[in-house]
Symmetry: C2
């Protein structure tokens, strides 16, 4: 028995919800083929795509492998899995590539279970996969990939959030790699309570804005005062790219996940089109080639592509 | 011309929203009588009630006086105000007493303006009053007193939040004074990013729960991981009192504002009745007399009591 699934890229943090909020995008995606095997354990047979040779093949060090090891252990499965991974999401781009491989793997493997689990129940296994890549147990990429759209990813639960109709997202990925571990290191120095209060206000305005479909509140909230100031210096041209998005009417813009990709939200696609060109131009001025996508903020969920006996 | 107004007590922070969230309660209240005077400036003619002799009479050091000085300055008023303040809210109780005097003063003075302002527009003046008492410009008491109910009080705006029908609050005030300044001092040592993520998740669950009327999310969110652990040691018996509330079905319980008062939220009044007795008993076991109130979470707004030429 074998099954294939794809998981979309995602915008982690969404600026205002570090390690908690994310949304999937219609853009690049990872694809994983899983075969159910008589012998126990998890084997990675192939990893393909740009940079594939740099990803670990040992299942316990690979995000897809670790996710399926966690699934096997939790369900005490009498069979094993063999994987083939096609990376479509650029490595170390801040677009959730490590999470996507884990999510695609669990969604495919789930279809091979005697009794497949509901999507939400796959969350802890995908998290276990994400953990081996980033060193932290945070679901801001995994959550939206599993459920689609904007998701609040807590330690124990996923809460899908409402998204006003028509809201769209520009994501620009400069050709520059930034490891999540490196980008997390700059966050270690401590914070004052006043930093929390200021950021919490933004988070609250953003969440209430989403739930009410109030774009003015989303705009008031969509800013990162806590993490972005520490990470922005790692991305050449960041301030210009963000400025280009805001000049083109963005509700807000920040780093996607740990960066270097930059995202911006817009009220409609026409604004986004013009902004995408300006944001890429700004990266070019900083000497960086880039690629970009426009997606609904309510992006797709991971999907099962095929399942055959 | 003279006008009188009353402002209710409030539960600041609501545990999960330090310096940002609060709700008014139907319980003790401050009352302020304001007279419009030909001579410019602000004069405090009387302060009455328990502890009144310890409150500053100089307008710029008194919360009600400072609020009216700010109002006069901003509107460039050609007349002055004379005040009489009746304190109904216990001093240094964590129930927003200093904010209530400021709010009652601006609500009364507003009625004496040639063109009274909408309630929200009084926010910066009430904040200026609060600032002289607590040393910080935070509106988590002032906001709900002005508008009633649960309010998100940002630097620049107030956002009233939805409250599920029937939700009620127990507040128990032990006979113990805790100055806001002292209670803020223990918060100065810095915080790790992980503390912020954990607390932000609670805040997000709480806000979404309120907006959706989802009591399970409110329960999941209504906990303070950031401030309560540092302040609880200042209040003898706190853990027992909180435990008594949770044992009686509270959705959550924490310090009201800077404490020492403790609040707890319940789904209905019958639970609250039993919890109030148990919470007071727990304070008694710690050697503290107490008084308590039960109020809708959607408490009242400040109100104008009279206005006469």
């Amino acid at each position: 028995m074998r099954a294939a699934a794809r998981a979309p890229a995602s915008v982690g943090n969404i600026g205002v919800g570090f390690d908690l909020l994310g949304h999937s995008i219609a853009g690049p995606a990872d694809r994983v083929l899983v075969e159910r095997c008589a012998q126990p354990g998890v084997e990675i047979r192939a990893i393909r795509g740009p940079g594939a040779e740099r990803l670990p093949r040992e299942p316990e060090r690979n995000t897809a492998g670790a996710a399926l090891l966690a699934l096997r252990a939790a369900l005490d499965l009498p069979f094993g899995f063999a994987l083939e991974i096609d990376k479509g999401i650029p490595l170390a781009s801040g677009l959730g590539g490590s999470a996507a491989s884990a999510v695609a793997a669990v969604v495919a493997a789930n279809a091979l279970l005697p009794e497949p689990l509901p999507r939400e129940a796959l969350y802890p296994f995908a998290l276990a996969g994400e953990e081996v890549a980033s060193g932290g147990r945070h679901g801001d990429n995994v959550g939206p990939m599993l459920l689609g759209g904007v998701v609040l990813a807590g330690r124990e639960r996923l809460v899908p959030l409402k998204v006003p109709a028509g809201l769209c997202c520009v994501v620009v990925h400069p050709r520059l790699e930034l490891s999540t571990r490196e980008a997390r290191a700059v966050l270690k120095a401590p914070y004052a309570i006043a930093d929390f209060v200021a950021q919490s206000e933004r988070l609250a305005l953003f969440l209430i804005g989403l739930e009410r479909g109030d774009v003015a509140l989303i705009r008031a909230g969509l800013a990162d005062l806590l993490v972005e100031p520490r990470r922005a210096p790692l991305v050449p041209g960041f301030e210009r790219v963000k400025g280009a998005a805001l000049d083109h009417g963005a509700l807000g813009a920040s780093l996607s996940g740990a960066g270097p990709s930059v995202f911006a939200w817009f009220e409609h696609a026409a604004l986004a089109e013009a902004a995408l060109a300006a944001m890429r131009e700004a990266f070019a001025e900083a000497g960086l080639d880039s690629e970009g996508w426009i997606s609904p903020v309510a992006g797709p969920a991971a999907e099962l592509l095929s399942c055959a006996a």
